[in-house]
Symmetry: C4
Amino acid sequence: MAYTHLADYPADIRERAARVRLACFDVDGTLTDGRLWIDEQGRELKAFNILDGMGLRLLEKNGVRVVLMTARKSAVTEARGRELGIEEVHTAVKDKRSLLLSLCDKYNVQLEQVAMMGDDLVDLAALQVAGLAVAPANAHGWVKERVHWRTRAAGGEGAARELCDLILGSQGKAEAILAEFLR
Amino acid sequence: MAYTHLADYPADIRERAARVRLACFDVDGTLTDGRLWIDEQGRELKAFNILDGMGLRLLEKNGVRVVLMTARKSAVTEARGRELGIEEVHTAVKDKRSLLLSLCDKYNVQLEQVAMMGDDLVDLAALQVAGLAVAPANAHGWVKERVHWRTRAAGGEGAARELCDLILGSQGKAEAILAEFLR
Amino acid sequence: MAYTHLADYPADIRERAARVRLACFDVDGTLTDGRLWIDEQGRELKAFNILDGMGLRLLEKNGVRVVLMTARKSAVTEARGRELGIEEVHTAVKDKRSLLLSLCDKYNVQLEQVAMMGDDLVDLAALQVAGLAVAPANAHGWVKERVHWRTRAAGGEGAARELCDLILGSQGKAEAILAEFLR
Amino acid sequence: MAYTHLADYPADIRERAARVRLACFDVDGTLTDGRLWIDEQGRELKAFNILDGMGLRLLEKNGVRVVLMTARKSAVTEARGRELGIEEVHTAVKDKRSLLLSLCDKYNVQLEQVAMMGDDLVDLAALQVAGLAVAPANAHGWVKERVHWRTRAAGGEGAARELCDLILGSQGKAEAILAEFLR
């Protein structure tokens, strides 16, 4: 069951989320369920969730910069990033923590203003330095033990949207967003 | 567990369903599980459920006009609509409530005769004016709180069929339909 | 949890299964989970399960004729049937019961020697006349009420294999099959 | 829930895993969920999990040779194997046990140093001779009864990664691996 109201989230997590200006998302296993469909020519497909797409767009519209970062070279990820209008799409990333640190410089934000969401070992170094470290429900056990918060949904089933909602709610934006959609 | 008999549905929902002449369905997250498969060229696939297809056809054969409406520009949705023989397939819809109101005019039905099913914020305005507002089990929490009824199945797993069955049953058509298939 | 030993199945179902010479399977929702992946050109994909493929092959190798029958015109179903080496693949079937009856004639089997597995209303007429009528766990409620047996697995997740195992086990073939694979 | 700490695994299984030098994996149903997506031309896709890919790479980096073996002729499996840099990818395998035995010769390992993971009857003969025989949660009942260990995850959802983690942990490599990713 997804979180609905701000009071549903733990208080310390809301405090961390209230500070976020830069939200970084791993791709496979975080924005997807980790599955790679491969065809007979070795080309890949993967499955993103439209719930997450809406959340990422709401973050950017409300002053939180969104970053996609993946260790995998992937035309699919680049295509999805383009469609969502996300500028900071980084594929074939060798060192996610270094990338995260350089983005902090670029956007002039502190580490405590960074959220990082990831599911596997390659995300650990970046998760360790982020002000809000989040893992989807399907994350590897070693990752789950080392984050501040775990979403109820698995990657690809709306896990990223949970983080988006947490950030928007904790920053007091939820009411206005909802009002606009009801208008 | 899906509903099987008319008595399984709440009485007030059956009353609302008995009046429906126009049934509007969001697509991603409602007729699908919200997942978008993206290939290396950025082309998309999505997965509809044959259970829902049967339900939509039964509605149209029994005097209820079916509408598909999505905020997303999508050749996939248009292809699926064509295959099901649905005339009212609307993609890249900026304002679902306005579309719903104009369809009421076109078909000369009242708002209380309209069912609307959707799962995310972009559906809220239309859901608020429909005589029967329905969300699939996977809908966003803010949507689930603002509908008359939630299906047991998630989008893409037969959620739309549950609504079709509710409407057909509440309008006293279930026995005749079943009899025809048993003949 | 799938059935493993013959004693796990109800006795009356084993009796019905012991007589089967012709095993008919609906496709969408029975050999698949009912989902149709549609691409931007309107072409479809669907997902069969390799567990079922093994079961269907074991039936044919052990004297039970396998039939695939679907109301849907589908190049995908034909391709899957060819790959499994199944001769009796029927698509775009208007009347499954008539087809079933004509196959009884062709193969000189009685209705009590026919198993039929299906998940939706179009399967009902054929299910009503078969000696062993089976529905997968995901079947429509009206169908589930009108069959002799429901598999524990859903369509596309090994439901058909459960029926294959039931038939092979009830006909005393399981031990020999297992021995061959262990050899 | 996946295993996280070495103490979570049964002691006798850890002993078996500590000896493994050669880890053999069936493909469909073990590295995938057993589903074959078929398109209108009869071409197939299947879905691997990035969690498993990471595990297989960690095995090879830590001195355990990885083998993929499938009875199915499959360009998809070959493509996935190439991408992961696995040398020993065998498709269209008629006799998995013979292949396993010849690989023991080639790499000069004993049968008790071999792990084999598979889900269906064609894997049984190889599973019977391996020092560590493992089945994913979705395996056929007859297979589940004849292995040393069953993973909690199903094939395609990280089942193979569970085995990789077990082997690496039992061989005392987990701490060093984790430290490298945290660095």
